[in-house]
Amino acid sequence: MKRAISFLLSAVMLFTVAAAFSSCGSSGEEKAVLRVYNWGEYISDGSEDSLDVIEAFEEEYNVEVIYDIYATNEEMYTKIKSGAVDYDIVIPSDYMISRMIEEDMLEKLNFDNIPNAQYIMDDFKNTDYDPNGEYSVPYTWGTVGIVYNKTMVSEVPDSWNALWDEQYAGNILMFSNSRDAFGIAQKLLGYSQNTTDEAEIRACADLLKEQKSVLQTYVMDEIFDKMEIGEAALAPYYAGDAVTMMAENEDLNFVVPNEGSNVFIDAMCVVKGSEQKELAEKFINFMCETEIGKANIEYICYSTPLQNVYNALDEETKNNPIIYPDEELLSRCESFVNLPEETNLLIQDLWNEIIVE
């Protein structure tokens, strides 16, 4: 026993010494440090022979990048707002960007350092969340639609009504996050996805409550397994991920319902008070380089808002109507903007009621 304990203790000592050394090694060279906060699995990281984007940036600019990941916009917002963490770069979605702009949490970008911003497609230049395009450079975008199994449905589910259809009872999956779920109900009832009208929101909540009787369950990433294995017939999800699922199971297809849908944009921003603002802008520029952008888009499978990256993609991807839908479809889509606090709270309360009941 004694031996075991002394062994354990010495192992710990070694561990600590090693840790101390490794931290010394990196600080010894006095490299500039850039701190990036991104979604998980949202950058080409060198796995499966892809390009390691972070490493490439570190080498090109001789800097050190601290790279951390988050799972939701709200998680990222809470962490930064609390003051517990300092990051230079964040990549929030549309509505979160407008919230952060309103709360003065983002820096205006100096576009002299981001010449590649010239490649941003016109559709993504003057967006609702960042009207003058001063705070953000778009990274990815995509639509929300219905992933369905062709062998399990009687007709193409081109209306959100399909997610309420009795004949598919027990075979329907639904978003487990409130904003996306309410967005679907809002489109079905013909409301704006950014409505602040309490009666409209309550009507959506009633509709979502009704849906519960035909649902199998509420999901996020479990949807990949359930759809690939044929355990469910219908599920709303993001277009790029639908393509990933379709590669695994050829019975699957994707459609954006006629009532219209949501189009999300994730964009790169610099956090207020960043000590490396110029380097952060160079990083954003680097992410927009053709080769880098292409590697990222191929890894993530979402759509690119950059013309140069789009041009470099293979023909099959470029012509895929799921990833790059036509103007007509996009004109039926809406993107989220930030809602006032009381609307957010109302939605959250109603959503909790729906989930718990």
């Binding site: 026993m1 075991a4 203790l9 192992a11 710990v12 561990f15 600590t16 840790a19 701190r35 906060y37 979604w39 998980g40 699995e41 949202y42 990281d45 060198g46 796995s47 499966e48 601290i66 790279y67 951390d68 990941i69 988050y70 799972a71 939701t72 609390s82 003051g83 517990a84 963490v85 300092d86 990051y87 996020m220 990433d221 990949f224 397994d225 690939e228 294995i229 991920d241 990933t244 695994e248 199971n249 993530i300």
Partner: protein, 264 residues
């Protein structure tokens, strides 16, 4: 020994299956060639290879192990000393201190997490001390501390106090008699307190989530952050390795104990 009847045997097999089936499925899919968690398309070691090359996951694993080791050692030392102090208190005082000890165990983790975060943010603004290694270590020691106390205290109460007094009577200095007489008798409590702290620290999510800073990520938070996109099969590979290591450790401990019992 009487032969076990048919039903109890089946029951045991079913219960074990219920416990272990998810882990076996997870291990099986760590060898799956495609990224799918639904179909098995072929056998491969590539996820293991990529796991070793994945700097983000490996550094998160290293950080988690480092924090788990350090915090459980510190908590065990502090907890053992505290237990000895508590044991020699009068009955009423002991009751009071024990209730204080139970609070961190019973308190919802999220309350501990947020209050610690507020404390660290306060320090950060006061002394420009960013959250990271130190804040995680302190918070992990904090929530681990009750476990060594709760494990060591019963051992101390079982112990005959006159043994320690006898050692003193025979001229052994207090510190030496503590190590030679007291520690061997409470060692099993210390070890189980250490192991409990270690496991709690390794898989804690909530408190870690709130008290981590930038640039020092821990494994549970890193894995959680992958849920928007599909969780990478490298995580399956990592879980398989951790499972096998724990299994090997348990088997090793059992063999060592069996050998010891034979000797006696």
């Amino acid at each position: 020994m009487r032969k076990a009847r048919f039903f109890p045997k089946i029951y045991i097999v079913l219960s074990l299956l219920f416990l272990y089936a998810p882990i076996f499925v997870l291990i099986a899919f760590s060898f799956n060639e495609s990224k799918s968690r639904a179909y098995f398309t072929g056998f491969t070691f590539k996820w293991y290879k990529e796991l070793v090359q994945n700097e983000a996951i490996m550094s998160a694993l290293f950080n988690s192990l480092l924090i788990a080791f350090l915090s459980s050692i510190i908590a065990t030392v502090m907890g053992t000393i505290a237990a000895i102090g508590i044991n020699s208190l009068s009955r009423r005082k002991r009751g009071f201190v024990m209730n204080l000890t139970y609070i961190p165990v019973l308190n919802p983790e999220i309350v501990t997490g947020i209050s610690m975060m507020l404390l660290f943010v306060f320090f950060k603004q006061l002394m420009d001390l960013p959250l990271g290694f130190y804040s995680l270590l302190i918070s992990h020691v904090t929530f681990c501390l009750p476990y060594p106390i709760l494990n060591v205290l019963p051992k101390l109460r079982q112990m005959d106090p006159s043994l320690y007094e006898a050692a003193l009577d025979l001229g052994c200095p207090p510190l030496q008699s503590f190590f030679k007489v007291v520690v061997p008798q409470i060692l099993s409590g210390i070890v189980s307190g250490f192991l409990m702290s270690f496991t709690y620290s390794l898989d804690d999510f909530v408190i870690t989530y709130f008290t981590s800073g930038s640039g020092f990520s821990m494994l549970p938070v890193t894995i959680y952050s992958m849920v928007r996109k599909k969780v990478n099969p490298q995580i399956n590979a990592l879980s398989a390795i951790i499972f096998l290591l724990v299994l090997a450790l348990l088997i090793g401990m059992n063999i060592a104990e069996a050998k010891k019992a034979k000797k006696e």
